[in-house]
Symmetry: D2
């Protein structure tokens, strides 16, 4: 009996029924006279999710990785210098991409488990008197380690240094789930993907671009065509696209934006925090440690959990999948075999997450990790249940 | 954010993805030349689920209640005497229906929480020397109290009394989930519905009829037309129906039968037992009691749980729904307000059920029932997790 | 390549995307606190479709045939006399049902191809001085012959005779497609099904009941339970049902009502008339005759077309299905082999219908019926295309 | 009443039900242990569609335009010379992309309405004694003009010239619909998209690469990362992907391949030819001309039709959409306003296409183009219907 897989990887995330239905549509004519009315509404509402009024949002058929590439090739020229910190697999990969695309990277080696090293950024920026650094890259939420960084602090560092470099943010696993403020934080390029907080299948690279970045695009000499902002901007202006758009996903995006707005962005963030906190209490009850070394970096979308020495997290994840039909995230690269991850973003509530915690407990116990069955669940429940007497009294009618 | 409702009522049950997809089809021509090939396969495979080779299965657009009516009106005449026991809301309602359809009911008043009183049946049958009783009715699985009865024992009682009455079984919440053996147990009429073990939406009354019952139908004088066996049999012979069938559900039924056969019926029963046992251990860990008074009556499809005095199960169920988006079953009729029910049938696995148990715990705690959060989950996990050291060693690679 | 079947039988009809999506939902808790809000809206809006403010609408899991039975068993007693005319297979079958349910039928034998013989009804009513006739039955739209009858005239006949009998209307293939006015025409019981004008799958019997009929139900002695109005009325009052409802179809019904109201009922009727008229012009261009003998009986939901002598309509329908994947309706009973039918109701537009007409032409030509390819299409197009010069001028910008 | 849009643009094409259902799935874990078994089957079967045993197929989240870019950036270095002909909007755009990606293009200006000018290619290749041309690009099926070119002849030209340049083919609107033979024609890079012959939504760039091209990739110096073949090859080897794949589309692709294989590729091509021929006969009957100037270039996937002087094809297309809910293709670039297009590829049969032809006739007539209603339909029907007396005799039973 293949019951439904319990999907708790940090993306792709579970698709809400309303979004599945919205995507289960016949193909449509992307040049129809009434198509622009539909698409222009998407662009308008996406800006609210990025919290930008000045910026412009582009939608490419592609994945978040394509969004990274779009950000770099549209605004930089080969040989341009970028400043970036590596403190997890995804921040590492973006740096790798920079190099492969011909950019010169000033890389800060951060610690896996810590947030972006703002002070190191600040030092490098201060040192860069002649402003050779064109762009500062940061990963808002490092999915590999479950660490959220302080983008606002990085903006303050740039300002403190009086440095004109643009600020590029990988928000793939944060935007639409964790508070992100493009305009307030002075972000020039923000990259998101459809398959995380937007609760859609993979297939849309979503890139928000500031006016400054758009202006920079005019002079950038990196070759690009598929991901070209200018082509998009020209066609998008009238609600069309320079080549065939992924209309099915656009229809799903409409439903996604309606759901996000219906719940309210701040409420979405609060819900993620509330749910994540339950997971963290479970981890503590198990006597295990998060990869994230300090609460200020705790990610509300993914928790990376360190196994005790001698246990293999790949085995754990495989066993959870095969025995309990529960998908957890493996540890990646530096933390492979040592860390497993619980994704807790997108469409999610307490009951779903408690099932996953219970399943993780059984899998941990099965492979011999000395935890007490039910302990994590109880700790999470204590956080989720109505704690205050007056609330309980109300529930009691 | 309306995440998905956690549906743990004792039917309708959760629909597997494969069945949902199978039903998401355009309407079709129920007189098409290739339609019979499809429908004849359904009848063939349904017989396997009822474990009958001699009987015939009919599919009416309707609910299980319609199946009850079909069984009665096709085979009995007004004034005919039937013997039936009432020991829960559904066994009670079937008796009520008998009376409303003009039958004379010899009703045995059983205890809610106990199984069908086989000895009382035996006595009445023994007393009925001139065989005025035409039919003996029994509810295999009483959904209101979570009690499964011993149909084979009832057959033995009939045989012991040398009584020729036909045996009618309400198998709505057992068939396809709990072992049911039409031919072996000498059942003449068995009623199932689409929305329980078949994992479909409500809308099909599924009635299996023995040769003896079909023969009886010829002489039965109750008026019927919509639910007439003879009309069905005549059209079904060639794979058609006397009036427009619910083809969408028939397509789903094909997927359902494929799933049941793919897993294997015995494995399906075993899985239900395995999952149900976890729920029962949770209830014990909470210090609560099942409505079912003895383990031999424990239902593997639904557990009815008694709240301590002073607590209102309607409030509990409402709170679970409103606060945790968890649907539990209320107590019905005699046990309204005192009992709540967890349905554990159909598409289900450990993770899903642990989420429901965890949710029930929070709701119980919230309304003040003195249970320990996590205690039920831990007890169920202890049953579900790999207990034996050698199994754990295998999991550990 | 199984492309989509072109479904042009007179029901089930093509399901609009919006309705398919609305039904592609998880199962739900039919006792949830917010369920009544949903269902009460359905009852409210259904009354608008039946054009009744006084009547009450019931929804049974079942087919239209079940609706017929509900109407009869709730309001009549065995031995009661009903007056009904047979002028096609469906009017015939309802009469048959009356007899099987123990009613005494005064049957008027009408002509297949003519509407309900209002004058004969009038005569019988006038003759029935002591008002032994309790109910007058009529089929509003006879699906077998493509004939729509004048229900208002039948009401006038009743009134002229000063006859107190109740008026029962089979509106299965008319309601929601052809104008029907329950209150204005003094209809006491109107039966519809989900799979015609409501554009849903088969599975809901929809019965509208006048206050007078509800009052009659109190005294009616026919046995009934599944289809009992009183049980329904009691539970429906609070938005619930006496047994598990077919919630999937109810969700679809919501979408159906939204579509009907969105387009506007009068506009729906007008569209059906407009489309049907194109079919009729095609038939004339082919040199064939409709089964309906006079334009005043032309049905806007189905056209029954008579083949020239020597041709077999079963062969035609089978060939169209196998060669062109086009489903047409066969001739039934008296007109089997001589008539084929094109259903043109529900979700439909000119392009879809022209495809069907073109397909019917090829199939007719293939089996040797001497028609000119394209002739019917051209005639329908001439009706559908913008005929007036000023309209064409507007289209020409 | 929004009935279903009749979609007859040359892509995206209508999605078969089986594919829609296959894509209506929950998100899945792209690192699950059983994921590779699924994906490796896709790669294996895709090779059959491209008719290659030596080549390798890559699947990028993106559109066909992304496939073009992948082909160029993986195998060429800035400044490399390519030879390409422009004879329609899509062949033109690929040349434009080459230039924007830093390649030096030797462009042949072909005629819109003619196929790829093989002789001109041959001359240029003969002239290129020192083999500066690294790659020869050709558009197999020019979607803007409805012209199919002779790729085999281009291969012969390369061979005749003894020229080592690689052969790149844009097969976006031909592959899986029109015969394409990668190995036999010595094609090094073939680009397809999901939304044409594969009958999927937009979102997959499908690129087949010969061994020679893969070897060339090792030395190519164009910057690329998202579309990098080597990253893909490394991960694909084990059935995984270098970044999150669009699993929903992959599930749909499985169904698409099953359908293509079930019908048989040659049968798919034959069906497209059969259907297209009907459209061409309709155009002739209207007295209009195809954009394609000679039958040897007739495209079996799209017909571009030239309006008589004085008529505006944009108006026609808009009117067809707004009045008849029929989506036709507009004329692009050089032929904007003068040409409209009927896409006839993917899931399609005679009835669907006759509906579109009938709709196009009405729209043409409405805007004043002097055509006879029904004439095109009749011509197409004459091609589709059973012409031969013996076939008709068989149909007649």
């Amino acid at each position: 009996m293949p019951a439904r897989n319990a999907l708790f990887i940090p993306g792709p995330t579970n698709i809400p029924e309303a979004i599945r239905r919205a995507m289960d549509v016949p193909q449509e004519d992307q040049r129809a006279p009434d198509f622009p009315k539909f698409t222009l509404g998407l662009f308008r509402d996406l800006k609210k999710v990025f919290k930008t009024t000045e910026g412009q949002v582009f939608l490419f058929p592609g994945s978040g990785t394509g969004g990274w590439e779009a950000a770099l090739t549209n605004t930089l020229s080969p040989g341009d210098r970028v400043l970036a910190a590596s403190f997890g697999q995804f921040s590492h990969l973006w740096i790798e991409m920079c190099r492969r695309l011909g950019l010169e990277v000033e890389a800060i080696e951060g610690e896996w488990g810590e947030g972006a090293p703002i002070e190191s950024y600040a030092e490098r920026l201060a040192d860069d008197k002649d402003h050779r650094i064109k762009a500062v890259l940061v990963c808002h939420n490092e999915t590999a380690t479950g660490v959220t960084s302080d983008v606002a602090a990085l903006r303050r560092a740039l300002d403190a240094a009086g440095h004109p470099a643009m600020l590029y943010v990988d928000g793939v696993s944060s935007i639409a789930s964790i508070d992100f403020r493009m305009d307030e934080w002075g972000v020039d390029l923000a990259v998101a993907g459809s398959q995380k907080g937007f609760m859609l299948p993979t297939g849309l690279a979503i890139v928000a671009v500031s006016r400054k970045a758009l202006a920079a695009a005019a002079g950038a000499k990196s070759y690009r065509c598929y991901f070209d902002f200018a082509d998009m901007a020209r066609a998008n202006k009238d609600g069309f696209f320079p080549y065939t758009p992924a209309t099915t996903l656009l229809r799903g995006l409409r439903a996604s934006l309606d759901m996000l707005q219906g719940e309210g962005l701040e409420q979405v963030f609060q819900r993620h925090h509330h749910l994540a906190e339950g997971v963290r209490r479970a981890v503590a009850a198990w006597g295990l440690k998060l990869c994230a070394r300090h609460p200020r970096w705790h990610s509300d979308t993914v928790s990376a959990i360190v196994l005790p020495p001698g246990f293999d997290s790949n085995l754990l994840v495989r066993h959870a999948y095969e025995r309990y039909n529960l998908s957890l995230g493996v540890g990646l690269a530096k933390v492979a075999g040592r860390v497993f991850r619980i994704g807790h973003l997108g469409m999610l509530d307490e009951i779903m997450l408690l099932g996953a915690i219970a399943g993780a407990e059984m899998a941990l116990s099965d492979i011999g990790v000395p935890i007490e069955l039910g302990s994590g669940v109880a700790a999470a429940q204590a956080h989720y249940a109505l704690a205050r007497p007056e609330a309980r009294r109300a529930a009691a009618g």
